[in-house]
Amino acid sequence: MWQEKRADLAASFALRRRGLAKGWYKFSRNPLSVVGLVVLVVIVLATGLASYITPYPAHAGPYTNFKAAGQPPSWEHLFGTDRIGRDVFTRVIFGYRFSLLLGIVVLGLGVAPGVILGLIAGYHRGTWVETTIMRVTDVFLAVPPLVLALAITAMLTPSLLNEMFAIALLWWPWYCRLVFAVSSSMRNQFFIREAEFSGASEAHILFREMLPNCLAPILTKMTLDMGIVILLGASLSFVGLGAQPPTPCLGTMVADGAKRLPGEWWSTIFPALAIVLVILAFNLVGDGLRDVFAVEEV
């Protein structure tokens, strides 16, 4: 008995390892996805160790040194310094921290309600429950997210926290729609029917039967969405409705530097390229995951 179980366990581990290996094979077939993954890992490590690896960690906060203001890129200041003498490279690395934080918080808050509502709507396909949920979803999708996010953050007074809250408020409908599409298509399949007939509770059907089948598209979409949310956050702070100074925010840095173009181009071009790099990396990894899970459209 005991030995049997152990053999089972070993077999399932072997299976899982083989699954992972197969997944990695599919993922690594596209070299761009691997490049994206490497870039992401480097960025995550750099933000985690920002206080140790950046040359001037103090520059991330309220620091001024007018003597060193507006210096072009050099070995001392890789990306130059901004108008009040802060090292742009240091601030870009710390800026990534807030971008990633924004993405994680928004998806953390937004995905769960969207997924749950999508599952409920899918399970109750064709009833008033579905109609109510999906029409409310339509309301949130009736205006491009950037506009609604701007308006809501502005109404709530601009800050990093409100920015996160506003974007999270707008993010659940996308997952609701995605999960609804997947779950409603499996509503009448045998394994759902069987669970119903054997008296499984609704919670069991939603979370143990339906949810596992929705995980692949959800995970893929989350990776792609990290890029989109970071883009949205950068746009909000570019307008001045995101995190307030002296928080090192990539969008704010671009906006600040743009006023000093074309002379001090480094203080805006480098943060701008930094934004593009992280979004590109998430998109490439997301595309790779799409290949792994064979998800067609997210």
Partner: protein, 339 residues
């Protein structure tokens, strides 16, 4: 057909009501007194109280919403506390500038997107195909304000090819307003030189908006061409000796019309929201810059109006796309007629 469009119309009206309720309730829930904002800091407590009664702020929320919707139906979106004018006056002044920008950007993305798609599809797996794939990857990952700043930096500040601020130089007399489109108005007034200057001002912001869509529409056309290139009917036309140009424009491009129009409808929403950022960079005196300014000044009436206007535009564009496609696509046309 008419039944389907009617159904869609009813649906959008419901969605718009929901949207207005959502944004109106957020505007009322947030701290701050709209009456005080409307009057300014110098007003006395009595005046503010009187204003509160006038604006129905003393009544419960559903009643406030009822009054607000009633006013909207009468074309009254309230007064902007920032410009101190009726919001509708502001919108009428600023919307044409944005519309001109967006329509021009749509035109650019359509023309260049088709050219890029045809070339990339016909010469697939060539260096040009690779380049177009790279551009479309970058296009998705680049925020429009970054594109705007890069283009402004390169083409306006380094190479000095086009101006970077506003619709016309301050020294230049704008033409009398007819359509609100600067280029069109100048031509109508017979001022060709003004029209050219205005067009030049339009160039960089419109391109900044269009770049992403050039790439995406190009990819759609490409995949459609690649998909059809090896089909029997194309081979047959080739065997019959039909010229390549005719083959491409008459037979290869046709299947890509419907996805292109669908995507253009979606793109319109993106163009409108990206205009929020591009107009800021180029100081374009349009709807989006007005919207951002009112947002930064916490002008609640204007903000609610902006969101509702966006919702209405979005709904209309989607409806238009649906109608156009149902006319273009014979399978849908016949299906709907039958059903």
């Amino acid at each position: 057909m008419a039944k389907y469009i009617g159904l869609r119309l009813v649906q959008s009206i419901f969605v718009l009501f929901g949207l207005s309720l959502l944004i109106f309730s957020i505007a009322r829930v947030v701290p701050g007194d709209p009456a005080r904002a409307a009057l300014g800091f110098l007003a006395s407590q009595d005046q503010v109280q009187q204003m509160r009664v006038e604006m129905h702020l003393d009544k419960p929320f559903p009643v406030q919403y009822y009054y607000w919707i009633r006013n909207v139906m009468h074309g009254d979106l309230g007064k902007s506390s920032y410009t101190r004018r009726p919001v509708t006056t502001d919108l009428a002044q600023y919307i044409p500038a944005t519309l001109e920008l967006i329509l021009f950007a749509t035109l650019i993305s359509l023309v260049f997107g088709q050219i890029m798609g045809i070339l990339a599809g016909y010469f697939r797996n060539s260096w040009f195909d690779g380049l177009s794939r790279l551009v479309s990857y970058l296009g998705i990952a680049t925020p429009s304000f970054v594109i705007a700043i890069l283009l402004m930096f390169l083409f306006s500040q380094v190479f000095r090819l086009a101006p970077s601020v506003g619709r016309l130089p301050i020294m230049m007399q704008p033409p009398p307003t007819v359509t609100g489109f600067m280029v069109l108005d100048s031509l109508l007034a017979g001022q060709v030189k003004t029209a050219l200057v205005a067009l030049n001002h339009l160039l960089l912001p419109a391109f900044s908006l269009a770049v992403i869509h050039i790439a995406q529409e190009g990819r759609i056309t490409r995949s459609s061409i690649v998909e059809n290139l090896n089909k029997d009917y194309i081979t047959m036309h080739r065997v019959h000796g039909i010229r390549t140009s005719r083959l491409v424009f008459k037979y290869l491009l046709r299947p890509s019309i419907i996805p292109t129009i669908t995507v253009m409808g979606l793109d319109f929403a993106f163009l409108m929201s990206n205009a929020f950022l591009v107009e800021l960079v180029y100081m374009w005196p349009g709807f989006s810059r007005y919207a951002v300014t009112t947002m930064l000044n916490k002008d609640l009436n204007a903000m609610v109006a902006v969101v509702v206007v966006m919702g209405v535009t979005f709904a209309l564009v989607n409806l238009a796309v649906d109608i156009i496609i149902s006319f273009l696509d014979p399978t849908i046309r016949i299906q709907r007629r039958g059903g």
